[in-house]
């Protein structure tokens, strides 16, 4: 069991299934990549610290399930997170559209000071690229997002990504855990649904 420091910043990794969320976390925390190889670490909560501006920033990285049917459960994971890494696969256009949807959701329901990073993964597979870098870059600029293209396989820009996030975090000290929502996102789902229903009703009228 890992003991996380109380001021650890929670980072949630979101994105379509198969875009390389787990690999990205593994590369950053364990400097490992398992391409259909034996993985002893497994998917779970990863922890790592980085040193930025004379301060240690502790990360607690939460990997999530990207399937469509689990999308409604995402608030349980991203609740009280300080940064969200939204990953897409540069070789799959569908995953980019999915990332756009995640960005919208995080903008609407995430905390005000939430740091959002849009990451185009699998940059080592440039030959099979379907998402142009310019398009993604423009989208990120529009929405004030951190943008990088990474490769979990080669480790390209992975460290840079987390360093940037650490720099962008409003303060090194995390929120006091006592202020955490005791409903843990469960109620928030129903609240979200209610909101959406109300919107739908308004539109209907």
């Amino acid at each position: 069991m890992t003991f996380v420091t109380p001021n650890a910043s929670k980072i949630v990794i979101l994105g379509d299934s198969g875009v390389g969320k787990t690999s990205l976390a593994l590369r950053f925390t364990h400097n490992e990549f398992h391409d259909l190889e034996l993985s002893t670490v497994g998917a779970k909560c990863f922890t790592k610290s980085v040193h930025v501006a004379d301060k240690d920033v502790h990360f607690s990285i939460w990997d999530t399930a990207g399937q469509e049917r689990f999308q409604s459960l995402a608030p349980i994971y991203y609740r009280n997170s300080r940064a969200a890494i939204i990953v897409y696969d540069i070789t799959q256009k569908k995953s980019f559209h999915e990332a756009e949807r995640w960005v919208d959701e995080m903008k609407r329901h995430g905390d005000e000071d939430l740091v959002i990073a849009l990451i185009g993964n699998k940059s080592d597979l440039n030959e099979y690229r379907e998402v142009k870098m310019k398009v993604a870059q423009e989208y990120a600029l529009k929405n004030n997002l951190i943008f990088l293209e990474t490769s979990a396989k080669t480790g390209e820009h992975v460290e840079d990504l987390f360093m940037k996030i650490a720099e962008m975090l409003p303060s090194v000290h995390a929120k006091i855990p006592e202020n955490l929502d005791h409903n843990f996102g469960i109620v928030s789902i129903s609240k979200l649904e209610e909101k959406e229903k109300r919107k739908e009703k308004k539109n209907c009228c």
């Binding site: 996380v4 969320k21 034996l38 779970k44 909560c45 922890t47 399930a65 855990p177 955490l180 469960i186």
Partner: protein, 731 residues
């Protein structure tokens, strides 16, 4: 338990070839190159280091573990017969011999054996990759310490006596309390603490892993082992059949465990009750005998009896007086302390509805002085019966005896005068009783601690941390007993009222009670840390001796305190809390039950797992999660979730190690993990999932939310939510 090795005599050669070899080859090489070696093994406790075991290795491959006390020798047979060594459980090492004999060794022995083998060979952690990080960490250090001829500097640093610190803390924190009571408590505690601390781990084992239990555990492990073997063998066979069979097995196992635990608890309760009842019965029998004798004997003899009875009367009167004093003494300090607490209380409880009933009437009498009341009742019975004897005997008495009676009265007066020093002695005895009761309460608490050893095994917590935890519990319990009692009773009445509100169907339950309980836990933890800087410093030092960094040690200390507080405060409230949530989430729980029934009929393909993963057998995590319902306090539930997750990864790792051709290598990504977790929860057929999830979310330590525990809690909540909304998704 943590061990530090020191080489005493070495008459062997080292082999330092760094080639990849099989386990068998490594062991054989080790045996060939090792003649004889003796190790002194030091056991690390919170009071320093103790020389506890002597480890002897001979050229024949025999390992002898010599205990200081029993000189118990464990013979491992000849190593060259060993065909396979594997880790079957977190704390169990399995050694398979050529003659198909299987030997299993528990953590302490296994560590020694495995350490020995690994330190002699190039593969340091070959056997330990699934073992906890602490052990691995320690092993790492041990290997580097191997060449030290002098004692390692860590050994020279023997911590000061904890009991002194405890004394100081007692004096500082309990100064408001009754000094006499406190002195007695301290004096007894001082004597007992040293013994208890040494015995604490033993007590744990006695309480939770008696001989029978250990046998059952072994059986369970055997069965689990067999399950694992079956998994590998029967992968080609129908998985569903295996699942059903194994589930039945596991259900039976769990039922047995439940029964055993309940039996143990009931036995403890019954023993106490029976003891009191038996005492009363015996006393009554004796008194009845006296009655019969009185009736049958002559009047002349009655005179002598009257003398005796009057003496008894006097004694009874004294006893009654004493009882009254006990009652008054027992109430007074607690009431005083309760008042002090109310006055000094800085924590604001957010009970919106203050309990209307007077709690004080219900108070400590109900719990802490139960034994006393039983005793008083028994004494009252005695006195009543004595009175009846008196009446009967008086009937028999003739008026002629009046003069004699007067004489006797005079005698009795003299007797009562003579008895006055006895009363003083009895006062001190009362105090002793009170202190003993405090200690008995702690012992009761220890007995009530559920699954402690299991959790230690599951969570791979070193034994010294358990010892520390026990010490913490004792200190906290003694320091804040009345405060805890007061809060528990208050929360109890409030929960009861809320339950009534829910049952009435028209009332509005107040959910904020959980927030209040959580806040109380958080605040009291803060206060404990603030009020006991010396003790905390000492504990931190002791934790960091286990090779932790300062920040890690702090978190471990927080974790320990949280565990202790949950045990002390939440354990008595657990049933009410669960009832509260059960009533609150009745509809959701029903819906979940229905959906689970539907999902049970679905095949594994429904969960959309990758083909390789869907071909694996997930019985081990399912059986682990079945124990979820046995947990009581939040950290136990969270540990069960972590353990279930571990077993999920363990299943894939077994597959990867065995490399069955029909499945190949498998990995679990974040995408797959939730699906597997849902599958596991569904097939464990756990009920009241919504109640559990709500309870955990509201009562878990918020500090744990960003950690691994929080992650698995989120996964659990997600899985419950998914199952709950299954029908909606279908529509």
């Amino acid at each position: 338990m943590e061990f530090v090795f020191f080489e005493e005599n070495t008459k062997k050669k080292f082999k330092t070839k760094k080639e990849k070899k099989t386990t068998e080859e490594i062991i054989q090489n080790f045996l060939l190159n090792t003649k004889e070696i003796t190790y002194e093994v030091y056991q690390k406790s919170m009071f320093g280091f103790k020389k506890s075991i002597k480890l002897k290795l001979s050229a024949q491959g025999l390992i002898k573990l010599q205990n200081n006390k029993d000189e118990k020798i464990i013979c491992l047979k000849q190593y060259n017969e060993v065909t396979k060594i594997s880790v079957i459980d977190t704390f169990i090492l399995q050694i398979i011999f050529r003659k198909k004999e299987v030997e299993k060794f528990y953590a302490d022995d296994a560590i020694l054996i495995a350490q020995e083998i690994s330190s002699r060979c190039s593969v340091k952690f070959y056997l330990f990759h699934k073992w906890n990080k602490y052990i691995v960490k320690n092993l790492n250090d041990l290997v580097t310490m191997k060449n030290h001829k002098e004692p390692h500097p860590i050994l020279k640093r023997v911590p000061s006596n904890l009991s002194r610190l405890i004394d100081k803390n007692h004096q500082s924190s309990d100064s408001q309390q009754n000094s006499d009571f406190n002195d007695d408590l301290q004096s007894i505690d001082d004597k007992k603490f040293d013994d208890d601390s040494d015995r604490s781990s033993d007590n744990f084992q006695k309480n939770f892993s008696t001989d029978d239990d250990s046998d059952k555990k072994e059986k369970n492990r055997n069965q689990n082992q067999n399950l694992n073997e079956n998994q590998n063998q029967n992968l080609n066979e129908n998985q569903n059949e295996n699942l059903n069979e194994n589930q039945n097995l596991n259900e039976n196992l769990n039922q047995n465990q439940n029964e055993n635990e309940n039996q143990n608890l009931n036995e403890n309760l019954n023993q106490n009750q029976n003891e009191n009842l038996n005492q009363n019965l015996n006393q009554n029998q004796n008194l009845n005998q006296n009655l019969n004798q009185n009736l049958n004997q002559n009047q002349n003899e009655n005179l002598n009896q009257i003398k005796n009875k009057n003496q008894n009367q006097n004694q009874n009167q004294i006893k009654n007086k004493k009882n009254k004093k006990i009652k008054s003494n027992s109430r007074n300090p607690s009431q005083k302390i309760a008042k002090d607490i109310i006055e000094n209380e800085k924590i604001e409880y957010n009970f919106d509805q203050t309990p209307t009933k007077s709690i004080e009437n219900k108070t400590i009498e109900n719990k802490t002085i139960e034994n006393k009341t039983i005793e008083n009742k028994s004494i009252e019975n005695k006195s009543m019966e004595n009175k009846s004897i008196e009446n009967k005997s008086i009937e028999n008495k003739s008026m002629e005896n009046k003069s004699i009676e007067n004489k006797i009265k005079n005698e009795s007066k003299n007797n009562s005068k003579n008895n006055s020093p006895r009363i003083e002695n009895k006062n001190s005895a009362q105090k002793r009783k009170q202190t003993q009761e405090a200690i008995i309460d702690i012992e009761k608490l220890e007995k009530l601690l559920p699954c402690t050893m299991k959790i230690a095994e599951i969570n791979e917590i070193p034994e010294y941390l358990i010892q520390l935890e026990m010490a913490c519990i004792k200190i906290l319990f003694i320091q804040n007993k009345y405060r805890f009692d007061k809060f528990i009773l208050r929360a109890c009445t409030f929960l009861e009222e809320n339950i009534k509100e829910i049952k009435s169907k028209h009332g509005k339950p107040n959910i904020k009670v959980m927030e209040s309980i959580r806040k109380f836990l958080d605040n009291i933890r803060k206060q404990i840390i603030k009020k006991n800087p010396e003790l905390m410093k000492f504990l931190l030092e002791d934790i960091s001796l286990g090779y932790h960094t300062s920040s890690e040690a702090k978190e471990i200390l927080y974790y320990l305190l949280e565990k202790c507080l949950e045990r002390i405060i939440l354990l008595p409230l657990v049933d009410l809390i669960f009832e509260f949530f059960q009533l609150l989430c009745e509809k959701e729980d029903k819906l979940l039950k229905q959906n689970i029934q539907v999902l049970l009929d679905k095949e594994i393909e429904f969960y959309q797992l990758p083909e390789k993963l869907s071909r694996l057998c997930w019985n081990t995590p399912i059986s682990t999660f079945m124990q979820f319902q046995l947990c009581k306090v939040p950290f136990e539930f969270l540990n069960n979730l972590i353990n279930t997750a571990d077993r999920i990864f363990f299943t894939t790792n077994i597959q990867n190690e065995n490399r069955l051709e029909n499945v190949g290598k498998v990995t679990i990504s974040g995408d797959d993990f939730l699906s597997i977790f849902i599958f596991v929860i569904v097939h464990s057929k756990t009920q009241n999932l919504e109640s559990y999830s709500r309870m955990l979310v509201s009562l878990c330590d918020p500090r744990e939310f960003p950690s691994e525990l929080g992650y698995y809690l989120a996964t659990f909540c997600s899985a419950v939510e998914f199952i709950k909304k299954y029908e909606d998704q279908k529509k």
